[in-house]
Symmetry: C2
Subunit: 87 residues, 2 copies
DNA sequence: TAGTTATTTAGACAAATATCTAAATATTAT
DNA sequence: ATAATATTTAGATATTTGTCTAAATAACTA
C-alpha cells in the first residue's frame, strides 16, 4: 500500500502509466518523451516495477515495459471504503 | 491531483482519514491516538486540509475535523480510466 | 486579570527523493 | 574483435518531507 502510493506520488511516473496504457514501450522510447535524463527515467521505472505497476521484459537489447493495473485494486478498495459513509 | 496524491502518500495521514470516517474529531483527539507530537499532527492535518480531504471548523477553543471524500473522485476516475484496457 | 487548555506557527534537523553525470553491463552489427 | 546502441548502476547534490521543541495565539475558567 505504501509502496503503491509512493510510486503514484510523482507526476512523471503517473504520466508513464498513462503512456503505457496506450501501448507497451521500451525504456528508451519512454525516456525520449521526457526532458529528463535516461538514468532518471530508469529510476522511475524501477520504482513503478517495485510497486508492481509495470512489468518489464527483456527482449534483446531492449527492455519492454507494460502496464499492470491489478495492483491498483487495493488502492481502489481503500478509497471506496473511505467513501462509503459510516455516520 | 498532485496535492491529492501527496496528501495520500503518508501512512499517518491515511490513518487519520480512516479515523475520521468513523466520526468527526478535534485536532487534539486525533493527536492523542498517535505517538507523534501535536505540532506534527497539526501539520499533517494542514496538508489534508490543503488537499481538500478534510474540512476544519473552529468551535470554541477546539478545531473539529471532518472527512471530505468528494475530492477523491478525481483520483478514482484516473485509476479507473487507467484500468480500462485500450489495447 | 491570571492561569489553563487547545491548537498552530516558527525554526531546526535528519531522512527521503528526484535529478544529474560518469561509468558499467549487455546486446547487436560491422 | 571493435564499435555502436540500450539500459542500468554508482555516486553526488539540491530539494522536499516528517519530525521535534519552543514560542505564539486564542478561548475558556476561576
Amino acid at each position: 500500500m505504501n509502496t503503491l502510493f509512493k510510486a503514484l506520488n510523482d507526476p512523471t511516473r503517473r504520466q508513464i502509466l498513462d503512456m503505457l496504457k496506450e501501448k507497451d514501450m521500451s525504456a528508451g522510447e519512454i525516456a525520449d518523451r521526457f526532458n529528463i535524463s535516461k538514468p532518471s527515467i530508469s529510476h522511475h521505472l524501477d520504482l513503478l516495477r517495485q510497486a508492481g505497476l509495470v512489468i518489464s521484459v527483456k527482449e534483446g537489447q531492449f527492455i519492454n515495459y507494460s502496464l499492470n493495473t491489478t495492483v491498483l485494486d487495493e488502492v481502489l478498495t481503500w478509497i471506496v471504503q473511505l467513501t462509503q459513509t459510516n455516520k
